[in-house]
Symmetry: C2
Subunit: 506 residues, 2 copies
C-alpha cells in the first residue's frame, strides 16, 4: 500500500471511531424517545453528556489533526498529494471543514451551551404548558447571547447569522436565503389567496375514526414499498415522529397514530421514510467517512418532503393507493371519490401551527421564523418583544393571529434547544425538492404512469444514483447544480406548486 493510502486509512480509522460513538449516541437518543422508562432520564442525561465530551475530544484531537495534516494543509485547504481520487479529495476537504469548525469552539463553551439549552428546553415545556412566555424569556435571552458568541467564534463574512446557518447548511449564506425567500413569500401569499377563493368545505371523512393498528399496517406497507425492508429499518411510536440512523443497515423511524388524524400519520410515515431511505442508501463501504454522510439538513429535508409532499400528495400515487386505503377502511371511505379525497388532502388554509400546515402555507411559517431569528441575532429585535412581533407578523402574512403564545411563539422547541439557523433548512428542503422533482421528470417522463402502477422502485434508484451514493462529496449547491444542470433557484418549486394548485383550485 502506498504511503498516501496508508495515511488516508489512518484518517478513516480515526473518523470511524467518531462515527461509532455518534451511532452509539443515536441509540441512546432513540431509546430515550421510545422505550426508556421515565425515571431513566437522569442516567440517560449523564450518559449523553459523557459521550458528548468524549466525542468532542475525539473530533478535535491532536491525533486527528496530525493524521489530517499529512494529506491536507489545514490552513489553506490545499490537498498535499495528487495520488487520491476526487472523492477522497472531497472527503479530505469535508474532514478539514469539520475539524476547523469544531476547533473554533472549546469544551467549556460546548458544555455550557448544552447546560443552558437543557435548562431552557425544560423551561420552554413549562412555559408552553402554562402559556407563560415570561418563564421562557430569561432562558431565550441567554440562548440568543450564546448564539451571538457562537457566531463570533465560528466567524462569518457579512452577517453573524451566516455562521449559524452554516452549521446546518454548509456554504449557504443569509443573503442567499433572503433572496430565495423574497421570491417565495409573495408567490405563496398569492397562491393562498387563489386557493381561498375556492375553499372546499372541510371533508368530514378525513377526521373519522380509523383503527390505529390498520393505520400502522398501511404506513408500514408504504415504508416497505419505498424500499425500506424490515431487516434494516424498524418503525416504533414516539411523541414526536423522527428518523435516526445508526448505520445504513440499522435505520429507525418513529410515527404516532391516533384514531383521528389518519392522513397526518400516513404522511408522517412518508416523511420519515424519505429521511430513512437516504440514510439506508448511504455507502456502507465508506461508513465513517464524509462519503457516507448526508450533505446537509436542507438536503435531508428535501428527501422527506419529496416523499411526503411531491410523491405522497401526487394524483398518480393516490390512484394506486387510495383503493387500498378504501378497502382497509370501507366504512369510512367506500363512498368517497378519489377526486374528493385528493382535494381534501390539498386543502390550503392559513393556520397557527407550523407542523400542521399544508404545503402552500408551510414555508411561510419558516419565513416568519427566519425574519425573526435574523433580527434577534443582529440585535434589532429584543427577546422580550418576540410575542408582539410574532403576532403582528402572523396577522400580516396569514391574516390570523394566535390567541395565546403557546400557539404562537412558544409552539416550537428549536429556540429552546439553541438551534438558531436551523429553521431555514426546512424551507430550503422544499425548494431543493422542487428542483430535484423537475430533474427526475426529465429523466423519467413516464413518472406519473409508473407511480400510478404502484412502481416506486425507479424513484429509489434515481435518488441513489443522483444523491445518496455521493454522500457529502458535493455541497448542497453543487449537488443541486449537478443533478438539475442549473443553479439553485425557487423557479422549479414555485412552478410545481403553481401548476398543481392552480389545477386543483381553478
Amino acid at each position: 500500500m502506498s504511503d498516501v493510502l496508508k495515511q488516508y486509512r489512518e484518517v478513516v480509522s480515526l473518523s470511524k471511531e467518531i462515527q461509532l460513538m455518534t451511532s452509539i449516541d443515536s441509540l441512546l437518543e432513540w431509546d430515550k424517545e421510545t422505550y426508556m422508562p421515565e425515571q431513566g432520564i437522569r442516567i440517560r442525561s449523564l450518559q449523553k453528556e459523557y459521550l458528548a465530551k468524549i466525542l468532542y475530544e475525539k473530533k478535535t484531537s491532536k491525533g486527528f489533526q496530525e493524521a489530517l495534516s499529512k494529506l491536507i494543509d489545514l490552513e489553506s485547504g490545499k490537498v498535499l498529494t495528487d495520488a487520491l481520487d476526487p472523492a477522497k479529495v472531497a472527503a479530505l476537504q469535508r474532514w478539514r471543514r469539520d475539524f476547523i469548525q469544531d476547533s473554533k469552539l472549546d469544551r467549556d463553551f460546548v458544555s455550557e451551551l448544552a447546560r443552558i439549552t437543557s435548562e431552557a428546553a425544560h423551561a420552554w415545556q413549562q412555559a408552553k404548558r402554562q402559556n407563560a412566555y415570561s418563564i421562557f424569556l430569561p432562558h431565550l435571552e441567554k440562548i440568543i447571547e450564546k448564539n451571538c458568541i457562537l457566531a463570533e467564534k465560528l466567524g462569518y463574512d457579512q452577517h453573524p447569522y451566516d455562521a449559524l446557518i452554516d452549521i446546518y447548511e454548509p456554504e449557504m449564506t443569509t443573503a442567499e436565503v433572503k433572496s430565495l425567500f423574497e421570491q417565495l413569500k409573495p408567490f405563496l401569499i398569492e397562491l393562498i389567496a387563489i386557493s381561498n377563493k375556492h375553499d372546499f368545505s372541510e371533508k368530514g371523512f378525513i377526521h373519522g375514526d380509523f383503527a390505529r393498528e390498520l393505520q400502522l399496517d398501511f404506513g408500514k406497507k408504504l415504508i416497505n414499498d419505498m424500499g425500506l425492508a424490515d431487516d434494516f429499518c424498524r418503525i416504533d411510536r414516539s411523541t414526536h415522529p423522527f428518523c435516526l440512523s445508526l448505520h445504513p443497515k440499522d435505520v429507525r423511524i418513529t410515527s404516532h397514530a391516533h384514531c383521528k388524524n389518519m392522513m397526518s400519520n400516513i404522511f408522517t410515515h412518508l416523511h420519515e421514510g424519505g429521511h430513512a431511505l437516504y440514510e439506508a442508501n448511504l455507502s456502507e463501504e465508506h461508513f465513517g467517512t464524509p462519503l457516507a454522510q448526508s450533505v446537509s439538513s436542507g438536503i435531508h429535508e428535501s428527501q422527506s418532503r419529496f416523499w411526503e409532499a411531491i410523491i405522497g400528495h401526487s394524483q398518480p400515487f393516490w390512484e394506486f393507493y387510495f383503493p387500498k386505503l378504501q378497502s382497509l377502511f370501507p366504512d369510512q371511505l367506500a363512498s368517497v371519490s378519489l377526486q374528493s379525497f385528493y382535494q381534501t388532502i390539498h386543502r390550503v388554509k392559513p393556520s397557527l401551527i407550523r407542523v400542521h400546515a399544508d404545503e402552500v402555507t408551510y414555508c411561510l411559517h419558516i419565513i416568519l421564523r427566519f425574519e425573526m431569528e435574523l433580527d434577534l441575532i443582529s440585535g434589532k429585535l429584543k427577546a422580550k418583544d418576540v410575542p408582539e412581533v410574532w403576532n403582528h407578523k402572523m396577522q400580516q402574512i396569514f391574516g390570523i393571529a394566535p390567541s395565546s403564545d403557546a400557539e404562537g411563539c412558544l409552539q416550537d422547541i428549536h429556540w429552546a434547544i439553541g438551534a438558531f439557523g436551523y429553521f431555514p433548512t426546512y424551507a430550503l428542503g422544499n425548494i431543493y425538492s422542487g428542483q430535484l422533482f423537475q430533474a427526475l421528470k426529465k429523466d423519467h417522463p413516464d413518472w406519473s404512469q409508473q407511480i400510478g402502477n404502484g412502481n416506486l422502485t425507479f424513484l429509489k434508484t434515481w435518488l441513489c444514483e443522483n444523491i445518496y451514493r455521493h454522500g457529502r462529496r458535493y455541497s448542497a449547491k453543487e449537488l443541486i447544480q449537478k443533478v438539475s444542470g442549473k443553479e439553485l433557484s425557487t423557479i422549479d418549486y414555485m412552478s410545481y406548486l403553481s401548476e398543481k394548485y392552480r389545477k386543483i383550485y381553478r
Copy 2:
C-alpha cells in the same frame, strides 16, 4: 473538603466514567436482544468491540492507578488513611481487586478471547442446530486452551479453576465448591428417589393454551407486586429471557411467552424480577462505585432463585395468586384445586435440559458441568471426549441419557462464550437462597401469613436492609455470615428442600 475526601472523589469520578460506559454497553446489549433490526448486527458488533476497547483502557489506565494509589497500597492492599469510613475502605479494596485483576491481562489477549468466543458462539449455534459436535470441537479446544492461559495470568493458589471461579464469585475456591457439591449431590439424588416413589401423573391442564397477552399481564402484575414499578422497570420479549440494568432507575427484564408453557413464563418473570429488584435497589447515591454494585454472580442468582423457587413456588404465594390465575383463565383452571396445582408445579423428574429442570434436579445439572469443567481445565478430560463423558454422567446421576448432543453437551451456550467457572454460581445461588430464607423466617416468623395475604413488601424491605444496600461492601461469604449469623453451608438449603418435598411426596 479534606485532601483524602478529594482523593476519594477523584477515584469515584473515574470509576463513574467506567460505569457510564458499562451502562451504555448494557443498552447496546439490550437493544441487540430486543429491537435491533436483523442486519444491524454488523454495526452492533463494531460498536461493542469499540466500547470494550475503551472500557479496558479506562479500567487499567495510569490515571486510575495513580488516583487509587494515593489511598491504598496496590501491592499490599493496605489502606493509607484512617480518615475514611468502613464502607469507603471496603470500596477501595474492591477497586484495588478489580484493577489488579484487569491489569493481569492485556488488550491483545482480551481482544483475541473476544474474537475466539464470538466465532465459537456462531459455531456452537450451527453445531447445536445440526447436532454435530465435530463443528464445535475445534472451537472448544481453543477456548479451553485460552481459559488455561487466562487462569495462569490471573493466578491461583491450588487449582487453575480457582482463578476462573474467582472471576464470577470472588474469593470462592474450587475446594469450597467441591465440598458444598459433595454434600448436595447424594442428598439430591436421594430426594429424587423419594419423589419418584410417588410420581404424580402429569397434569394436563398445565400444558393447555393460555392466551399470550393475559400471561404477560399476569407476569407484569407479579413484577409490580414485587416492588418494580413501570417508571423504572420495563418488560420486553426476547428469545432468551434476561435482566439487565443501566442504573437503579432504568432496569430491564425480558420474558418469552408461548401459549403453551404458561408456568415457565410466570416463573421467568419471578426469576428475572428477582435480579431486577436487586439492581433497582442498589444505592443511587453511590452509583459508579463498588458500593452500588452486586456482590457476585452467585448472590445475584440467589435473588432470582429466592423469588422464583422459594417464594414463587411456596404454598402461601399460590394461596394468594392461584385464585387470580384462575379468574384470568377460568376455562382451563376453574376446576383445578390449589393442591393439584401446587403438586404439579413441584413435580420432580430427571430431564435432559438444565433450563427446564425442576428445583430438585436443577443443581445436579450444575454439578455435572462443574465436574466436567474441572477435568477439562486440569487436562484430565479432553474436549473430544466430552460427549461420551457427558452421556455417561447423565446416566449415572439422572438415570437417563440424551439421544443427541444437541440435547446433551451442546445444550448451553456458556462454554462457547468462554465462561468456564460460571456454572457453579447457579448452584451457589440456590445454596445462598436457602440460607437467606432461613434468616428471613427468623426475622419474620409470620412470613407465610403475610405472603398468603398478598403482602410482598416486607420481602423487599428485608432484602434491601440485608443485601441490596451493601452493594459490594462484603464478599459473598461475609454477607451470608452477616445475614444468617453462620458460615456458608448447604444445611439450610437442604432442609428447605427436604421439608418441602418430603411433605409433598410423603
